[in-house]
Symmetry: C3
Subunit: 249 residues, 3 copies
């Protein structure tokens, strides 16, 4: 979006309603059938299903939108997440986490939207976790395994990637206390499905299940992702999920 | 794009021309060689090629942009589609269809742009197909095969995905009459190439050819996609298309 | 982004600061931990690493953002690129090149942002390479090999793609003199990693190394891409890079 463009538009056209209203309004004006599915299928059927709490559905929905760099529905989904019990600190940590798993730019764009939502609700930066927090204890055994694998398989190709994966990613970001390891794993898996990164799913889905995500929750998260990511990515992900499920029997 | 930002920009800078003009203008200002290719190769060569009608080129172009969540060229391509004979009802159905195949957010963002195009041309929501339409007859044999395959292979991983795939996707969306099955298939295949979802191409390309798309049209659609998606996705798709073509000999 | 929306926002809310400032400000407000990583890890650690010049880091960063259609960080990265010694003509050529490798819409959107950066710095379209430039000499041997491969393997699927790949892509775009073949290859490889197009990496990474990119530079470019693309795409790319490195020993 170009600066000049914005100003031209702003001064040469008449004013209308707010942003979220406008999106729903334009949906009805341009694709009335989709507006119907939005109300009857997405809102009334999907969000009211059992098997995954509204709070976790919001975690999945927000994570997929942030991960894929989609901002149009973000304001409404950030707001819904807060209504569903996702804490402001958790939303901030989701955005920070996804800077690594879905690219810096997508996290920056999401923070830009989140700042507005926080302002509307009088949530202040001082209420959010900053850089200095007491980290969760490191799982030394897992970390030794992970570090050994990365040093052996990836450091010869790019030492820098291997180094930043250790610090700050696994010895800092993942240990920040305001988003549980189970939620970080759910966010990571959602991001991988959102961006079609099937190769990386088994490691992180296994970790999610180790971190306390139930298999039935992972199954239902796929249902949420059908709408918030898309059908084809979810169909590609399903056999990979099933293989992980089978491997843990 | 942040609310605060927009307002700051709007009031602190001077006004300029409209949006579509601005995009062409900025192309000339920032990348004059690309502006040249845009005129001489994309407009004069690509769009005037034989082998695929201008109307179908518009279907492919709009579908790929909507599917990939690209909005900058959408206003001009929606307008061109209408000029090329794609009906307003068809554009609405394309957007609704892609909510499932390319993600809800991309469809919502596209509807937001399409509403403006309709307004410019005095196309009203009442002229567009709503939720209640008489559905095309169900192909019972195909549907039984599809349902059986999904229940066997995918429902054990996520019953919800399998259920929503049946209803509303295959027993409602696909049967809506204002976009032909052939066009829905062309839109779906274009979306899969746009988002690099090669795994799902064979099923939908075969269906497209069953639904009346000619093989020569599919070949030429790839040419259109080289520009509207990108070269690498098209090069990855070509062997998959060829395998489908060969399998039908 | 919808026209109506913009105007409503512009007139119904109060003004604030400029765009780049606002992004940093909102990062601090919504995700203070990410603002910290942005300063301490991305700015202070990543950008000051050895192994790849600041100029080349900018080429990689700009190419990945343009390729993935990410515009939020583009203004700051275009500006940083100019500060780091990337020439205005080179930035324009990067955008033009990526119209083919990452899709026309992403290039058009990037040009829209770049026009503003050029205007801020009084860089005029007349200072940039236009359509008529003296092309670099064609490597006849490579071109015969490439053309033969495309005609044999791809033209039967889509003659149009094969034809446009020759002209304008390989006999015009790649030979434009204001971006070196080495830089075009680095841009292309960065684009492929950004868009998760692993299949096409070996051809272009080998070409990059043939065109003068050092293996150590390619390794360090992956480190830059971890932040500017994302961790999973880079982890998927690393074994592919390693296989190319091993094949050249």
């Amino acid at each position: 979006m170009n600066k000049k463009t914005l100003i031209g538009l702003a001064f040469s056209l008449a004013a209308s309603a707010g942003y979220a209203d406008s999106i729903q309004e334009n949906l009805k004006r341009a694709a009335p059938a989709l507006a119907h599915y939005n109300q009857n299928v997405l809102e009334n059927d999907l969000w009211k299903r059992e098997g995954l709490s509204p709070r976790d559905r919001s975690v999945v929905s927000v994570a997929t939108l942030v991960a894929a760099g989609k901002t149009e529905m973000l304001p409404q989904e950030f707001a819904r997440a807060l209504d569903n019990g996702v804490k402001p600190a958790e939303l901030s940590e989701i955005v920070t986490h996804l800077a690594f798993y879905a690219g810096w730019n997508n996290a920056v764009a999401a923070a830009d939207e989140l700042a507005d939502v926080y302002e509307d609700r009088d949530i202040d930066a001082n209420d959010l976790p900053g850089a200095d927090v007491e980290l969760l204890p490191l799982d030394e055994e897992f970390e030794a395994m992970r570090e050994n694998s990365v040093q052996t398989n990836y450091a010869p190709t790019s030492q820098g990637v291997a180094d930043f994966t250790r610090e700050p990613l696994f010895r800092d970001v993942w240990l920040r206390p305001d988003l549980s390891p189970r939620d970080r794993s759910l966010v990571t898996v959602s991001s991988l499905v959102a961006n079609g990164q099937a190769e990386q799913v088994p490691f992180h889905l296994n970790r999610a299940l180790d971190n306390g995500l139930q298999q039935a929750e992972a199954s239902e998260a796929l249902t949420q992702m059908a709408f918030y990511v898309n059908w084809p990515n979810v169909y590609t992900a399903m056999p990979i999920f099933q293989k992980v499920f089978d491997g843990r029997k």
